[in-house]
């Protein structure tokens, strides 16, 4: 009996210890710092309690970062899901097994690239003078379009790279999910006079609802961690057009002011918002 009770502790204990050291300690430390007025330039600091948090709500740049983060989440998650489902269905309908294999391998390559590499490759491709993407526009019109220097252009270009990495990868996963579905309901639907697109809209995608939701959440979490992509491609610019919350926190903490306490406060806000929103979404979608 005592052995049965202690067994879970034996197995879970080490993992929990590691988790506590790696996750809880920095989190609590960040929260502690966020209650102070610590900067990188001064050796000591005082507790100013919630002044940092109050300051955020009158900080336009913080509110902008919050809004950009939201836009970024919605844009990248929805674009990834739409692109991946579209590509997967197109492959499922049109490609022979051999082509599916070839395309699957090609589609997995982008996500294998470290994100910093992908960001550099595409940043150069978007370059107004030397970029491969801008070359047709240069050749035809003679202009040198600088996509990354317009607010909307920069947002879409960075999102494009994100979708290029994850949308193609998810397309492969969804293709495999489609292939794993039992074929008979699809055949029954064909006999029931459903058109090709109707079969997917009414039969296959609803049958894949649960795995698709999982993919969506995975992508939503992944999109939150896109700091490296934004950092390399735009540094949050032009202006603050692509400055997500983590980007702004980094700027505050390490680039501009060295305002570590303020940056930690933002990190804490981000953590709380994320946990709350994901819990709500998870419960909603799983109903």
């Amino acid at each position: 009996m005592r052995l049965g009770r202690s067994l879970p502790v034996v197995f879970l204990g080490p993992a929990l210890m590691v988790l506590i050291i790696l996750a809880a300690v920095p989190t609590l430390y960040a929260f502690n710092i966020s209650l102070q007025n610590r900067t990188l330039s001064a050796p000591d600091a005082d507790y100013i309690w919630f002044a940092n948090y109050l300051a955020m709500f009158s900080d336009d740049r913080f509110l902008n970062a919050l809004w950009v983060s939201l836009k970024w989440e919605v844009l990248t998650v929805s674009a990834t899901m739409i692109v991946s489902m579209g590509l997967a269905i197109a492959m499922f309908e049109a490609a022979s097994p051999r082509w599916r294999k070839v395309l699957s391998i090609l589609f997995i390559i982008p996500v294998l690239l470290p994100r910093v590499c992908a960001a550099f490759v595409w940043k150069f491709s978007f370059h107004p003078l030397y970029g491969a993407v801008t070359w047709p526009a240069r050749a035809i019109t003679g202009d040198t379009p600088d996509i990354l220097s317009s607010p909307a252009g920069a947002m879409f270009a960075v999102a494009f790279v994100d979708v290029w990495q994850w949308g193609l990868f998810f397309a492969v996963i969804i293709l495999k999910l489609l292939e794993a579905l039992p074929p008979q309901p699809l055949e029954a639907a064909r006999i029931d006079r459903a058109k090709r697109w109707e079969i997917h809209a009414y039969i296959t995608l609803p049958m894949l609802k649960l795995p698709l939701i999982s993919l969506l959440l995975v992508k939503a979490i992944e999109s939150l961690r896109s700091f490296d992509l934004v950092y390399v491609m735009t540094r949050g610019g032009p202006g603050v057009a692509t400055e997500t919350l983590d980007m702004y926190a980094y700027s505050q903490g390490f680039i501009e002011a060295g305002n570590i306490s303020y940056a930690s406060g933002m990190a804490v806000v981000m953590l709380v918002l994320t946990v709350v929103m994901f819990t709500v979404i998870w419960k909603r979608l799983n109903q």
């Binding site: 029954a188 064909r190 006999i191 459903a194």
Partner: protein, 349 residues
Amino acid sequence: MATVECSGLRKCYGSHEVIRDFNLSIADHEFVVFLGPSGCGKSTLLRMIAGLEDITGGDLLIGGTRVNDNDPGERGIAMVFQNYALYPHMSVRQNITFALERAGDSKERIAKRLAPVVESLGLDVYLDRKPTELSGGQQQRVAIARAMIKTPEVFLFDEPLSNLDAKLRGHLRVEIARLHKTLKSTSIYVTHDQLEAMTLADRIVLMYQGRIEQMGTPEEIYSRPATLFAAGFIGTPNMNFITFTVQEGRLRDGTLDLPAPEGVTGHVTLGIRPGAVEVLDAPAHDAIPAVVERDEFHGETRLVALTCGVQGLMAAIPAARKLHEGQNLFIRFPSQSLHYFNTDTGRRL
């Protein structure tokens, strides 16, 4: 209501031909059963008729129109699958009405058509359940309802009862027979179960290795099997086969001595159903001695393994008659129940 006409149908997977030159015409209202062992091409053929498999060659006509290149939805067919193939995320009601909704029928019309179908299959109380909340038999009823509501010209059944337990199979078989009587639509039913075939069919198409082995009413196939395969496949318990070489117009093996069919030489296989073997206690005219090897009790009947000279054969006798192992007795083959086949070609003589 429609006829189905297959002329010279062929199906190849690459260079492998699974169905060659298949010819069959099915009359309006007819209930035809494709019967055969697994891998004989019967399901492939049904799927070709449904439009789920491409037709490599030949013509398929439904209701007099060539439908080789029509989509499954445009052939006026409905199909019931072995594993039900219900849409798992939809309620029973949505499953049944899916086709009507795709065809753009109005809500009132759908409701009007739904009611009698649901009632005839006893599905009223399950309409709002999901398929996973139903038993296998109920799921197959839903699948049948889904097929019925389209009022198809041709009903296709692909081993619809194979996934059900024996008792339920019997129930649904009766139900399918009843539905066919009321709906009168042309039906094609694929099965490997001879009992289903015998009880449901107006006509059985017995298939083997992609060809029609024999075609006819259940009685015809049972009483006059055209080939050795047909004789061996139809009927439980299996027919006894004894192979002889014809000598001086007689079939002899030392103990047995029977007249050979006229003008036949070479090897002959004699077939006799266990039920047709007469088992006698005392010697009689034409009777030959035999020894009881094994005695199996089957309820109504008793299946007895006998040794008769060098041959072993089975005889079915009423269960009330008790025999013991090693008992000596006599058997007689009534000449009208003997089936003669050419051993080499397998054809009936």
